[in-house]
């Protein structure tokens, strides 16, 4: 239905443009955005599309609803099909981007950064980070950053006089109380690889702190070192204590989220994008609270990294137009408009002036993240490692391996990758 409407609009626009200058009619096929079938999201993006088309007469933007991302091969398949997109918005991170870069599926954008001033339009630290990843060559333009932490039900916490405590020991006590009440303390769906990584990244951050996690990701610290392995040991402890139900090993993100939305689970580790899931499930967003996982090392911090990026396929039929589109997306107008839209589900790649978060929960997430964001290893680990990393988390949650064994497997892959 949605697709039909989109197509109809596209056709109508095409017809209108064609009437004027048939020769100049151009179509920009865009992969994304996710959840375009949701009315709120569709409304926002149709608005952006209309403005872009108005600013570029003769151009039609066509959305291609994503069938997946790079991890499940959908993006690669789409690009290789040649029926694929001219510009893409998809889940990114070092491993994912490396996969498509190594397969020569996406075009380098390093020159465009300098020529079009993109380097000035994202956080300086972010630009440095991107430059450092592939010997200076950059293939993506970050669209949004993630901030992952604990979502909880305000009413449930008020009723039981619970709150997210300050230390990890107290956090364990809290989960004990939840379990006694017959409520699953944490829901997790590790079949959705990224989601498993969100929880584990939070635990690593809470157990080892940002500097140690950073060293391990850089390969400067052995993953079997107790200072970083502690997180894996703790995850296994949560499973053994029944705070994470072993049976959740078979769930995916939606299956686990269902437990949280129905209040059969007290906490869920997710980022701002979870607002969209909540809205779909009919969950009252004003009841959602957000906090960083309690840490004994330094301040409690959410984790994150580049969550979504723009990329231009190597076989894009409209590379120039695709760049223009990215210019447009990076413009102050569009960024502010997206950030303030109720469908907004992320942190933006630069500070936005005079910005008011559209929902209470987003405001909470932004203020929690304002003190800085730790690493979500899923988006920083090298390509050869990340799959093993996800599998190890599954192994821990299904109680098949110990924390030490799991970390040894990750270390073995890290050694191979270097």
């Amino acid at each position: 239905m949605q697709r039909r409407t989109l197509m109809a609009t596209a056709l109508a626009a095409l017809a209108a443009a064609g009437a004027v200058t048939a020769a100049q009619a151009q179509t920009l096929v865009m992969w994304g955005p996710e959840q375009i079938t949701e009315p709120l999201v569709a409304e926002l993006w149709n608005g952006i599309k209309a403005d872009f088309e108005a600013a570029n007469p003769g151009v039609t933007v066509e959305f291609m609803p994503p069938t997946g991302n790079i991890s499940d091969g959908a993006v690669q398949a789409a690009i290789q099909s040649n029926a694929g997109p001219d510009v893409m918005l998809t889940n990114s991170g070092v491993a994912r981007v490396s996969t498509v870069v190594n397969a020569a599926l996406v075009a380098p954008l390093t020159a465009a950064y300098a020529e079009r001033g993109w380097d000035q339009q994202i956080y300086p630290w972010l630009y440095e980070e991107l430059k450092s990843q592939r010997g200076g060559e950059i293939y993506e333009v970050p669209d949004g950053l993630d901030a992952l932490g604990i979502w909880y039900h305000k009413d449930m916490f008020a009723e039981n006089q619970w709150q997210i405590p300050g230390t990890y020991a107290d956090f364990l006590t809290l989960m004990g109380q939840m379990k006694e009440k017959g409520i699953n303390p944490i829901a997790i769906g590790p079949r959705t690889a990224g989601s498993a990584g969100h929880l584990f990244g939070n635990i690593l951050q809470a157990s080892s702190g940002t500097p140690v996690v950073g060293e391990a990701l850089d390969g400067k610290l052995d993953w079997t070192d107790p200072s970083i392995a502690l997180g894996a040991v703790r995850l296994r402890e949560l499973v053994d204590a029944g705070y994470i139900d072993k049976e959740m090993a078979a769930l995916d993100l939606d299956g686990a989220a269902r437990l949280w939305f129905n209040k059969r689970a007290a906490m869920f580790v997710a980022g701002p994008w979870f607002t969209a899931n909540a809205r779909n499930a009919g969950y009252d967003l004003t009841n959602a609270g957000f906090a960083a996982m309690p840490s004994d090392i330094g301040a409690a911090m959410p984790t994150g990294g580049v969550g979504w990026s723009w990329m231009i396929p190597a076989n894009s039929k409209q590379p120039e137009l695709a760049m223009k589109w990215i210019d447009f997306i990076l413009s102050q107008d569009v960024m502010k408009r997206r950030a303030e839209n109720p469908a907004s589900t992320m942190l933006y790649p630069r500070a936005i002036k005079d910005y008011n978060p559209p929902t209470q929960i987003l405001a909470e997430i932004f203020s929690t993240a304002s003190g800085g964001v730790g690493y979500n290893p899923s988006v920083y680990l090298p390509a050869g490692v990340v799959d093993t990393y996800f599998q190890v988390i599954q192994g821990l949650i299904s109680a098949q391996i110990t924390g030490e064994e799991g970390m040894a497997q990750i270390q073995a892959k890290m050694a191979e990758a270097q």
Binding site: Q80, S81, N82, A83, R258, N280
Partner: protein
């Protein structure tokens, strides 16, 4: 007589088996008519308070099932037609014409019977890509036809061999060429084999998932099983849609089967056993 005495006890004993085997269908049908809240109560024995036919209307519209069914039908028609067009003549040639290299050719075709399509998928993808047939129903149809050719030729050849040579000879005396013999003499005699080939290739095409998963990228060319899997993961948080969408995917073929049950069963078993 002993048979008749045994009929009802056996039938009675089969009743629980019947309930267990068809249980998933009953549960699915019932869940598909519940509200999201009722599904959330997780009680499989509770009946829906009100039959939510709306779920079907919503799933149909949101999932674009009309388009998916059309794609599946076009895919199916293409595969069945091409399979008949290619396999019947080839089977005839291998059965009734003597030519050098016949044995050799036959073994090359038989060889294909043993190779699972998953084992050739990477180059198959490349071939389709080079022909510009990725993301197209034509591409998937050709790949599926090729996958079914060994079985189809084998089946037709086995059947044609059983047709007496005298018929061929007589037609030849009348001045018919091989093409005419195939069309006028052989095909009218081979309804059972053709029926089997149609049913088997139709069923395997209708249910195929692996090739569509790899070849069909955009939603507007996807077939039913792939479309449902995509739909179920996109709308995983709305189980009423997942359930009603699932029912939509298998209801048409089950109804078709119930109507043509006898012929269907016959074609399938004869085809499989002969092939």
């Amino acid at each position: 007589m002993s048979v008749r005495k045994r009929e009802w006890p056996v039938a009675l004993a089969l009743l629980p088996v019947f309930l267990i085997i068809l249980g998933p269908f009953f549960w699915l049908l019932m869940s598909s008519l519940k509200t999201e809240a009722e599904i959330g109560q997780a009680n499989p024995f509770a009946l829906p308070a009100q039959l939510m036919w709306q779920n079907y209307a919503d799933a149909w519209q949101i999932g674009g099932f009309g388009e998916l069914i059309t794609n599946s039908l076009m895919n199916l028609a293409g595969v069945v037609a091409l399979t008949l067009i290619t396999c019947a003549p080839a089977g005839y040639a291998l059965a009734k014409i003597r030519f050098p290299g016949r044995e050799w050719m036959f073994y090359a075709i038989i060889f294909g019977l043993t190779i699972p399509v998953q084992a050739i998928v990477i180059p198959l993808y490349q071939v389709l890509f080079n022909l510009g047939l990725i993301n197209s129903l034509v591409g998937i149809t050709l790949a599926q036809v090729s996958n079914g050719i060994p079985f189809g030729i084998f089946l037709m050849r086995s059947f044609f061999i059983g047709v007496p040579d005298e018929l061929v000879e007589a037609a030849k005396m009348d001045g018919a060429n091989h093409f005419q013999i195939l069309l006028k003499v052989m095909l009218p005699l081979s309804t059972p084999a053709l029926q089997a080939l149609v049913i088997i290739s139709a069923l395997s095409t209708w249910n195929d998932f692996f090739l569509p998963l790899i070849v069909l990228i955009s939603p507007d060319v996807q077939t039913l099983p792939l479309g449902l899997v995509r739909f179920a993961s996109t709308y995983a948080s709305q189980f009423r849609l997942v359930f009603s969408g699932t029912v939509i995917t298998f209801l048409p073929i089950i109804l078709l089967y119930l109507i043509t049950q006898r012929r269907f069963t016959e074609g399938l078993t004869q085809g499989a056993l002969k092939g």
